[in-house]
């Protein structure tokens, strides 16, 4: 999902924004995105721990993790840290 981006006439000056950085989602300009192989994943949550943008969330009710692609920069740290090699960086 991509947030609707506003024109220069619609935004407040000087970076004053609604919910701070949530208005400036990073998701639109990434080139790679992490894709998980569910079978390999052990739910060790190292990816959640290492994601620099907090874009991977642990959902206890599902017992699984979710990627928030609106915040993901596609840096690939999660894929590097994954001990089971369950995350692959794919071109968007």
């Amino acid at each position: 999902m991509t947030a609707k981006e506003k024109s220069w006439k619609e935004i407040s000056p000087a970076g004053v924004c609604w919910k701070s950085s949530t208005q400036f989602l990073t998701g639109d300009w990434k080139t790679y995105k992490p894709v998980r192989d569910l079978e390999k994943c052990t739910r060790c949550l190292l990816c959640v721990l290492f994601c620099p943008d907090g874009a991977i969330h642990w959902k206890p009710e599902k017992g699984d993790i979710e990627f928030d692609y609106n915040f993901c920069k596609g840096c690939g740290i999660c894929a590097n840290e994954c001990p089971a090699k369950a995350i692959e960086m794919k071109l968007e």
Partner: protein, 410 residues
């Protein structure tokens, strides 16, 4: 033009006039670091503070970079902030100039224009402010101490206009204006206070979704200028350009409004035209040199030469239409630059004026004179020579040397 308020005549030099204007403008915060030739502004202002003549928080910082940072911080919390600098001090502020204009903080800064090193030189030329012409600050260049006084008062009203919200530089030529004593007509404290008024704020939506005034306030938290990635930065810069466009009208309005109370106006606030409507040969210049040129124009007019002067008062935003309109009858134009753009095609003012005339119906012959660098004097005889050169260009119908150096030993 008649003034409606009673005025006093004081003997002030340019710097003192600026300090006096800042004092009357009811400034909340002044943060500054002294540098020649601006020092007198800060000295006088600190005296006003020490004597209890003004209720201002005076911050002695350890560098110009910190001085502007303090002013920016004060300004975004809603205070009226003022600072002064020159030359190397302005260069040290470079980063913060962009932050201030980007945060849309209406800080007013007086610059006593001075040459930049090396070699070290403390005297007047426009190298410092010309270097900062793309920093998003409105730039006003003044002709005399009287205009310096008037312009600082106007600057607060221009900067704080809700359609503009941009910082303003008031440039006065170092030593030529900053250290020369003149008779300055000053308004009463009340009249200035009424004219400048209190700061107004636009409304923005904060992170809680509430509509709050555009300032930092602990009770209504907002974030200002934190980060904009490639998907938004461009949009913020476009907003600043729009504010500059709005400033063109606001500057004219403020100039008109000020004329009503003081009886003094400077052209239309953007350009100051002197006999240029029917002039065949015209000079375009900034700042104090205009006084010398006016004297020469008077002499030449008495001799029957159709000479004129266009002084660009507001260099940023550049009043392109006014320049084209005012120069429409000129057949040969000389642009005087008190700074150099090394490796460029002439000086910065020449770039701008020549570029503005590209879209005009009639294109005059146009030449550039670099003059007065590092405080070198420019005499009426030299100005006269420019007009003679322009007349020669009209006779031979071509420009021989596009960029010339006035007063350089060759």
């Amino acid at each position: 033009m008649k003034s409606v308020v009673k005025q006093e005549v004081l003997a002030l030099n340019g710097d003192e006039a600026v300090a006096f204007a800042a004092k009357q403008s009811d400034v909340d915060v002044v943060a500054a670091y002294p540098i020649t030739p601006q020092t007198i502004i800060v000295e006088r202002f600190s005296e006003y503070v020490a004597n209890g003549e003004v209720e201002t928080e005076f911050v002695c910082t350890e560098s110009e970079h910190s001085a502007l940072t303090a002013c920016l911080a004060a300004s975004v919390t809603g205070a009226r902030a003022f600072t002064a600098s020159a030359s190397a001090g302005l260069a040290l502020m470079h980063e913060m100039l962009f932050v201030t204009s980007g945060c849309r903080a209406p800080v007013v800064m007086a610059i006593a224009n001075r040459a930049l090193s090396a070699p070290l030189n403390i005297h007047g030329d426009h190298s410092d402010t010309m270097t900062e012409r793309d920093s998003g600050w409105i730039q006003i260049y003044v002709e005399n101490a009287q205009e310096a006084y008037d312009s600082v008062i106007q600057a607060f009203k221009i900067a704080e206009n809700t359609d503009v919200l941009l910082p303003v530089i008031v440039g006065l030529d170092g030593f030529t204006l900053s250290h020369t004593l003149e008779n300055v007509h000053v308004l009463s404290d009340d009249a200035v206070k009424r004219f400048v008024g209190t700061r107004k704020f636009i409304n923005v939506t904060n992170h809680e979704g509430r509509t709050v005034p555009f300032k930092l306030d602990p009770d209504n938290p907002t974030s200002m200028g934190p980060i904009a990635l490639p998907n938004y930065y461009f949009e913020f810069k476009r907003q600043q350009e729009e504010a500059m466009k709005n400033a063109l009208k606001v500057i004219q309005d403020v100039n008109k409004e000020y004329a009503e109370i003081s009886g003094r106006s400077y052209g239309d606030g953007l350009v100051d035209a002197y006999y240029v409507e029917d002039a065949e040969v015209a000079i375009v210049c900034l700042g104090s040199t205009a006084g010398t040129v006016k004297a020469v124009v008077d002499e030449l007019r008495a001799e029957g030469v159709k000479a004129g002067l266009l002084r660009i008062r507001t260099f940023r935003p550049l009043p392109v239409e006014r320049i084209v309109d005012t120069l429409k009858n000129a057949k040969a134009v000389a642009v005087m630059d008190r700074s150099m753009s090394f490796g460029g095609n002439g000086g910065p003012v020449f770039h701008e004026v020549r570029h503005a005339l590209y879209d005009a119906d009639k294109h005059p012959y146009i030449v550039n004179y670099i003059y007065g660098l590092g405080g070198r004097d420019t005499s009426p005889m030299q100005i006269r020579k420019i007009y003679e050169d322009l007349q020669k260009i009209l006779r031979i119908k071509r420009v021989e040397t596009r960029v010339q150096y006035l007063g350089l030993r060759e």
